[in-house]
């Protein structure tokens, strides 16, 4: 579905290149918001649809959107703190302007782009996705972003590219756990198989709730892979490498029996120490039962084909 609307937005409101670069896109993004908030499907960007691939339903969520203040105050961002409350304040010291992203490896045209220039080539849209943490809590977030695929294409991947490695910012002056070299190996690294990276559900997000991404939520640009546990959706990305072999990812390296490379949401495969069968949506009221976790976080219709031949309890 392509939304065409002639809603006039005063130029004074169009201020933020990270979110909205052309008036046309603003209209689309803003329009998508109220629709999505009402729980109805919203639009897709022009030119990136392949009709009949079931894409429209990726906007569909059966839950209401989580209030923004909860999403901004409950963060796993171990570079700053092991608590969920502290990143909201500590992350404010992260420097994100200017921001450069590098795309290298098995590509025909390696790129080094300033984020503002990169965004000029992309159509930013709103995508309302469920987000499921491996710790068994979840939320529903209206991201603003664009498909990772449309960025990767600009670098012209070679056929030898089988995996994609993402690297987070290394900024020990701002990140206490990087400065002390504690907990995990820094900088944070994540990875996807090439078909996962090119899947239209996979986003690079630069905003949420109609605003720029807050720093504790991964500003200025983060990955969003809605059918995988949240730790796959790496924050503050500076480098994207296309590789022949699977990269060793941070949590997988730290605890290989607990966190696999795939990390697809799967209620049937418990974490070694706790169940993944149910989840606690943020903002639920007392005495509300947990939500039953769905295979691939409810995106099975779109992604199950990627794993058709795989034993999901082995490749967890």
């Amino acid at each position: 579905m392509i939304i065409k609307t002639q809603k006039v937005i005063p130029a004074s409101e169009i201020t933020d290149p990270h979110l909205f670069l052309q008036r046309r896109k603003v209209v689309k993004a803003l329009l998508a918001a109220p629709l999505a908030y009402a729980g109805i499907h919203s639009g897709l960007a022009a030119g990136q649809t392949t009709p009949g691939n079931g894409l429209a339903s990726h906007y569909q969520t059966d839950s209401t959107i989580t209030p923004a203040n909860l999403v901004k105050n409950y963060n796993n961002y171990y570079e700053f703190s092991l608590t969920k409350e502290q990143p909201a304040s500590l992350a404010q010291s992260l420097r994100i302007d200017p921001w450069t992203i590098e795309i290298t490896g098995e590509v025909e045209k390696p790129l080094r782009l300033d984020l503002d220039d990169l965004l000029k080539l992309q159509t930013v849209q709103e995508y309302v996705y469920r987000f499921r943490c491996v710790e068994a809590w979840s939320m529903v977030v209206p991201w603003l972003g664009f498909p990772l695929a449309s960025l990767l294409k600009t670098a012209k991947p070679l056929s030898s590219a089988q995996f994609v490695k993402f690297t987070s910012i290394h900024q020990p002056e701002a990140m206490p756990l990087q400065a002390n070299n504690t907990m995990l190996e820094w900088p944070y690294v994540e990875g996807l198989r090439i078909d996962e990276a090119f899947h239209p559900l996979t986003l690079l997000a630069t905003g949420m709730y109609g605003e720029r991404l807050s720093k504790q939520n991964g500003a200025p640009i983060r990955l969003v892979v809605p059918w995988k546990y949240g730790f796959k959706s790496i924050k503050a990305v500076v480098k994207i490498e296309l590789l022949k072999k699977a990269p060793l990812t941070t949590w997988n390296k730290f605890a290989p029996h607990d966190y696999g490379f795939y990390a697809n949401v799967n209620p049937a495969v418990p974490h070694p120490r706790w169940s993944q069968a149910s989840e606690r949506p943020l903002g639920s009221h007392f005495f509300t039962p947990r939500r039953k976790t769905e295979l691939f976080n409810g995106y099975g219709e779109q992604v199950a084909a990627l794993y058709r031949t795989m034993d999901l309890s082995h490749f967890f």
Partner: protein
Amino acid sequence: MLPKKLSPLDVCTAICLVPLLWLALDIFLDKLGANAIQALHIRLGDWSLRFLCLTLAVTPVQTLTQWRGLSDYRRLLGLYTFFYATLHLLAYLWLDHGLQWPIIAIDIWQSSYIWLGLAAYIIIFLLAITTPKRAKKRMGKSWKKLHRTIYYASILAIAHYFWQLKGNLADPMLYLLIILCLLGFRLLVWLKSRYLFGLMIPVKRNK
């Protein structure tokens, strides 16, 4: 009518309710954060463990200070451990799971750290129901034996804490250290009494 003079034990009984009032206030002021259910549940778990540590601390304090008459306090703190652990359990079953038994069953089955918590709770429960003086009298010698299982409960509780961890090791380490000290004290007392007891036994001599 003038209120009866409060005994120190009464004051202590009231003070032990402060964590609960504090929680109630935080609920009322909506200060439990984004995941309020989990926050409440965790706070009750923390207080169960703190009261367990306090209960275990009474005997060492009594031994070291020769302070008499602390057993009523030990009893009180033990019952409060049970009280907060029960609220922790109820929060899990009711607040978090809305008493949806099929989901609860799967969650417990697949979460090994909960087994440890449940095992600790079963011990604390048995100790609580055998607290009345009548029960103590009726049980005779086995009462003391049963109530010594609080040592196992403390080990299970700390293992439960470690096993549910998602990253931060500092807090459970602190409690582990406290529990090791409290149990270590008993071990020392036991070794000492064994040693003294050993001296009193006439040693068989070879001719």
